[in-house]
Amino acid sequence: MTADHEAHNPALLHHFADAQQQKNAASLGMWLFLVTEIMFFGGMFCAYLIYRLAYFNAFAAGSQQLNIWMGGINTAVLIVSSVTVVLAVKAAEAGKRKLLTGYLVVTVLLGMTFLVIKGFEYAEKFEKHHVPGSTFNFTEKFDDNGKQIDVNPKEAELFFSLYFVMTGMHALHMVIGCGLFSTLAVLAWKGHFTANYFTPIENGGLYWHLVDIIWIYLFPLLYLISRHT
């Protein structure tokens, strides 16, 4: 804790020997946290796969009722937001404050776009009575290459239960991500980050990418794989 050390890097915490050690620790910590997130979603993916195998027709019928356009646009929105995150990290590396803030703000806006579209999608589910509960009503059939197959509405309800829990948990993570990136944007604007110290941007970016990747798995599992018409 020498004086010039302090002056050099105000972000260095007292219990680390040097900035590199601190950065490595933060990065490893973030990766471990991502592992816990994968395990967290893993439980739901496991439940989804088991029930999809057990009630294939109902799950396919439910899947065919999802709005593939909104889901597709949202996928595109998230992929673009991941690009802006990468650009933000690059800008931070180069120490470009305004550019960094700009990319962070765009990322937040894209995240919010995703949430708004998701909101419309949920609204559509309410209108079609596809929300599990007492008002649930599912009369649609499974269109198996033109052949119409009746399905048990209870089993379809299970599909929508999982749909809402999985996309709901994902949306919650998006909300947290938007809050996180808004905070980072404010800090970036205030000049908190330098070319020597931008670990929070990097780690925030890792979180954002993970939430994206989870969606990249959710989208085909929920929307696409039963659509072989």
Binding site: H15, L28, M39, Y51, K154, L158, S161, L162
Partner: protein, 553 residues
């Protein structure tokens, strides 16, 4: 004037050094501390409170079972009492006890670091624990839960009108406390080790805490999402575990035990680490087969994830799945047995001192062996079908959880007490209470093996009169056990003021934590230590004077 002149002037070299306890006395300096040692003390106080709460419920259970009739309480009350005993003891005591108290205190010291990698996240862990605890206390005071600590559906969904949601959320939050602790430990072990402290020189407590942390971060998120699904099922009437809606209650059991079986290793592994510290110290020998003991911790963590369905042998899983899980459960016994063999081999030709920590270590080895071997019996499908949901299971896991974890914890608490407080505990009282714990424990739980084998089911408030003798023995044992737990509480508090000063290394123990002052300064070491020796180099360390056998000179 005269008074002023009489003030003693302390020479500079005699001014007591500032340590972590004397570095600030305000409440704020404790509640907003990021010092791992102070956080360990915060955990010590709060976890002990939960231990005595859980113990209170245990006493209610034993009192009810003193007589065959349901006379102390009604069936519904009894359901709530054993549920809350289980939840408090598992989620608020056994999971955090060794990692969050002893691990928090000694892990950074053992690796020669100034603190854990993320001190503020460490404090957050404690606050999450407290938040979960307060939520659960509120749940308890507003009527409690009656689902059993396992929250099996449909007990916890369609069949219960108690406050399951609150209890589920409490466990969800407590889970994040444990995730953050595990994350902190792993990063600290990877990134904060002192120069020269290679992986093969790490104390075995670090290895076992590291393995524990792996289980914590991989398993806990699964119980978190399982609790979310149960809460969603109750709140929003989703049917994920409800057969009426196409759901499958067995899926709940799979998800629950995917965490909760590895959670057993979250509890026992750190205690095994404590024993690996105590045994070499009081046998004055390097631990036998260091690498095997170290890697067996990791092996237990890995195999521990592959055995969960042995809780489901009677739940309707396929025969082939049962066979595989039975086999894997046998496999996980191998690394556990390696540890027991190696501790025993360490004792061979050792110069053994029967100090209190060593007594607890002996207790651990014996009781854990019984608990482990009965676990093998339960992993055998034929026996398991016979004794599922009987007191045999209860006795088995209490031998591991209480006989194992708690013995390890008490051993470790006594072992590191001089380091934590700078004072020695009274040895005579401590030995007496260790004896009470050992005798009381066996008297409480050994009869339960017999009861279970004779067919007494768990979770009933009444039983046929022929089981009474064994139940009375068990309750009598529980009261002795209670004395054994209350005594340390009293004499350890007493020792804070009246205990003799311990000095830096009263046991003559190896390990970096003994190379700093007792109690340690806030940043642990005045200068970063450089390690040039192997772990447990007891052949190079002189025995402490007090522990030498009296010889004529």
């Amino acid at each position: 004037m005269a008074i002023k002149a009489a003030t003693p002037v302390i020479p500079a070299n005699q001014v007591p050094k500032l340590n972590y306890l004397t570095n600030g006395y305000t409440l704020k300096s404790w509640l907003l501390t990021t010092d791992h040692k102070r956080i360990a003390i915060l955990y010590l106080i709060s976890v002990s409170a939960f231990f005595f709460l859980g113990g209170f419920f245990a006493m209610l259970i034993r009192l009810e079972l003193l007589t065959p009739e349901g006379d102390l309480m009604q069936a519904d009350t009894y359901n709530k009492v054993f549920t809350m005993h289980g939840i408090v003891m598992v989620f608020f005591f056994l999971i955090p006890v060794v990692p969050a108290i002893l691990g928090n205190f000694v892990l950074p010291l053992m690796v020669g670091a100034k603190d854990l990698a993320f001190p503020r996240i460490n404090l957050l862990s404690w606050y999450l624990y407290i938040a979960a605890g307060v939520l659960f206390l509120h749940c308890m005071l507003s009527g409690g839960v009656d689902t059993g600590w396992t929250f099996y559906t449909p007990y916890s969904t369609a069949a219960s009108n108690t406050n399951v949601i609150e209890a589920g959320l409490a466990i969800f939050i407590a889970g994040f406390s444990s995730i953050f602790t595990g994350l902190n430990f792993i990063v600290t072990v990877h990134r904060m080790r002192a120069p020269g402290l290679t992986w093969s020189r790490l104390p075995l407590f670090i290895w076992s805490t590291y393995a524990t942390s792996l289980v914590m971060i991989l398993g806990t998120p699964v119980i978190a999402i399982t609790m979310v699904l149960v809460v969603a099922e109750r709140l929003l009437h989703l049917g994920i575990f409800d057969p009426n809606l196409g759901g499958d209650p067995v899926l709940f059991q799979h998800l629950f035990w995917f965490y909760s079986h590895p959670a057993v290793y979250i509890m026992i592994l750190p205690s095994m680490g404590v024993i690996s510290e105590i045994v070499p110290c009081f046998a004055r020998k390097r631990v036998f087969g260091y690498k095997f003991v170290a890697l067996s911790s990791v092996a237990i963590a890995v195999f521990g994830f592959l055995v969960w369905a042995h809780h489901l042998f009677v739940a309707g899983i396929s025969l082939y799945a049962a066979l595989i899980f039975s086999f894997l459960s046998f496999v996980v016994a191998v690394p556990s047995a390696i540890k027991v063999f190696n501790w025993t081999a360490t004792l061979y030709k050792g110069s053994i001192t029967y100090a209190t920590p060593m007594l607890y270590a002996f207790g651990f080895i014996g009781l854990f062996t019984i608990g482990g071997l009965t676990g093998i019996m339960l992993a055998t499908i034929g026996v398991d079908v016979h004794v599922t949901d009987t007191y045999f299971v209860i006795a088995h896991f209490h031998y591991v959880m209480v006989g194992g974890v708690l013995m390890g914890y008490l051993g470790g608490l006594h072992f590191w007490w001089p380091k934590i407080t700078g004072r020695m505990y009274p040895e005579g009282w401590a030995k007496l209470s260790a004896l009470f714990v050992f005798v009381g424990f066996n008297l409480t739980f050994f009869p339960q093996f017999i009861l279970g084998y004779l067919g007494m089911p768990r979770r009933y408030w009444q039983y046929p009169p022929e089981f009474q003798v064994l139940n009375v023995l068990s309750t009598a044992g529980a009261s002795i056990l209670a004395v054994g737990y209350l005594l340390p509480m009293i004499y350890l508090l007493w020792s804070l003021r009246y205990g003799p000063l311990a000095g830096d290394n009263p046991w003559g123990a190896a390990g970096l934590e003994w190379k700093t002052a007792s109690p340690p300064p806030t940043f642990n070491f005045d200068e970063t230590p450089v390690v040039t020796w192997e772990a447990y180099n007891y052949d190079e360390i002189p025995e402490p004077k007090e522990l030498e056998a009296p010889v004529a000179r």
